[in-house]
Amino acid sequence: MTVPTTQEIAVRVEGMSKYYGTFHALRDINLTVARGEKIVVCGPSGSGKSTMIRCINRLEEHNAGSIMVLGTELNDDVGNIDEIRREVGMVFQHFNLFPHMTVLENCVLAPMLVRKMPRAEAEATARRYLEKVRIPEQASKYPGQLSGGQQQRVAIARSLCMQPQIMLFDEPTSALDPEMISEVLDVMVTLASEGMTMICVTHEMGFARRVADRVIFMDAGEIVEEAPPEIFFTSAKSERTQLFLSQVLGH
């Protein structure tokens, strides 16, 4: 793998640690993600994978080490945090749509308030992205009136409306019924093929095989293994990775 230049680096995490009280949740995380790269993070529950990506847009505060996002250092500077959040979209396990706003309002809210986009332009953008996630007809409905898969696609569209440069996915299909998982994954595959920088925490190994440039395996707050999918799934070095894979792919 070639070493990316500063210009091409989307996220650089160096020696990052995170504690919850005395619990050491993340230990010495080092990770560099180039622009356009697709990373899949997997690992057993409680391994710190969600915590790690939540640190990248400061939903969690890291206690040691450094995080650079698109050349901006993530620290206590509120301006830096705002700048990074504008450029980093996030999709959550439980969708987290605003239940008191219609789908369209969910999508135009941030572009209008944060990007100061005029209403008409924000609505046009929103409709374009709703088209892209294949639910343009639901624009005037409320989140509670949609299925889980539809809600998650709205959540993806809402993030995309901010036209972010990086997308974080935190177990986007874990709360979905089996038949809805593929509709969400399809959208994510399309997004990947268009060159979006993506960091996905997911257990969808099929998605990882198909889309990921690198798969990262975490356990007990550490990055245990990091490899391209063809190597990761066939010849993982660590025993812990092999055990995890045998459990996930076993049946």
Partner: protein
């Protein structure tokens, strides 16, 4: 026959019939006994007394009243006084509760402690004690001669004297209605489908409505101005007495303060609960989109918390409305006190209590109905998944 009795529907119908029959018998028996006892004591029952003049004066009244007025007029005054006291008490209690609730949910430890202490202290002292405390405090203020002065107001043991506009009663009423319109219009405009378009446009329409209503209020005040007098009538000391201005009697102030502070502690807990009920996920989503903390608060946390609070808040309002009956403890002529005086003077106990109960039922059922409407109007659509 026995087979019929084993039929579920027949059984239910039979039980219902028995229940209604027993209830009817009870009411009839009660009425007959009451009538017999009243006749034995020489009291004529009925509502004829409502049209007799009362023969006693009122301490506080929003409408003109004299001892020659009939009882029904006094009841109306009583209901108005209760509503007047209630609306001030409820509004201030909500304000206090908002502050206390937000302090408790804030990240600041000192604010949290203050909010917690407030709730613990004022929620655990009986309301009547608090009414007495504030009444004692206010009536121990200095006499008119050495009144506290500031911003044209006078604070004395006889009450709070405020500058009053020199405006006719009708104009004052019109102006107050315009102010109410300034509050109601934007809410109504926000709900109508006619204007359910772009957030930004809707906001400017609402703003225009508020401005128009407030301009109307000012115009009414100027139009109804009494000729040859300054716009404001300032209270001043003349001899041993105070002249001019608007007097807020100590009974009223004590009750409003007590209801606001006591109710505020309960509403504070409701507000805290409402904010606790907002999913962490929605707040995280809003922050991750780059919204500022203020935007997250006004557009996500507050609207969702309000929906969680409303049903319990309605309950609390109904409760506080009933707490206005504390008026009798300090001599404020609310609905309850007027009923009590009526009973003393006319002896029509059952009728007067019947009117009191019907009146409170009407007030509180209207309040509950209003809140149910609001609740339904802003309810979240569809199934809610708790993240």
């Amino acid at each position: 026959m026995f087979k019929l009795l084993r039929n579920q529907k027949v059984r239910n119908a039979l039980l219902q019939a028995l229940y209604v029959g027993a209830l009817g018998a009870l009411v009839i028996a009660g009425t007959l006994i009451a009538r017999q006892n009243l006749a034995a004591q020489g009291i004529t029952s009925g509502f004829d007394f409502l049209f007799k003049s009362t023969g006693w004066d009122l301490g506080f009244s929003l409408l003109p009243a004299s001892a020659n007025d009939p009882y029904w007029w006094y009841f109306i005054i009583g209901i108005l006084n209760t509503l007047f006291l209630g609306s001030f008490g409820l509004a201030l209690a909500t304000l206090v509760g908002m502050i206390v609730g937000l302090a408790q949910t804030s990240a600041n430890d000192l604010a949290k402690l203050l909010g917690r202490t407030y709730v613990d202290v004022f929620r655990n002292i009986p309301l009547i004690l608090q009414v007495f405390f504030w009444y004692a405090l206010i009536t121990h203020l200095p006499p008119p001669r050495s009144a506290h002065e500031g911003w044209g107001m006078l604070l004395t043991s006889r009450g709070l004297y405020l500058p009053a506009p020199n405006v006719g009663g009708l104009a004052l009423l019109a102006a107050s209605l315009a102010v109410v319109a300034a509050i109601v219009l934007p809410i109504w405009l926000g709900r109508t489908s006619l204007l359910s378009r772009p957030l930004g446009q809707r906001f400017s329409v609402q703003l225009a409505a508020v401005a128009a209503a407030l301009v109307c209020a000012v115009l009414f005040l100027f139009a109804g101005r009494l000729p040859d007098s300054p716009l404001l009538d300032l209270p001043s000391l003349q001899g041993l007495n105070l002249r001019g201005g608007l007097r807020i009697p100590p009974e009223f102030s004590a009750l409003v303060v007590a209801i606001a502070i006591y109710g505020g502690s309960y509403i504070g807990e409701i507000v805290r609960g409402g904010f606790k009920a907002v999913g962490k996920g929605q707040v995280e989503a809003a922050s991750s989109l780059g919204l500022t903390p203020w935007q997250v608060f006004t557009l996500v946390r507050l609207p969702l918390a309000l929906r969680a609070m409303l049903p319990i808040l309605a309950n609390q309002y109904v409760w506080l409305m009933k707490a206005t009956t504390m008026g009798i403890a300090v001599g404020f002529t609310d609905f309850f006190m007027i009923t009590a005086l009526t009973i003393n003077h006319s002896g029509q106990t059952l009728e007067a209590i019947g009117i009191l109960m019907a009146g409170f039922l009407a007030i509180n059922l209207s309040l509950a109905a209003l809140f149910n409407r609001i609740n339904k109007a802003i309810a979240l659509k569809g199934n809610q998944l708790r993240g």
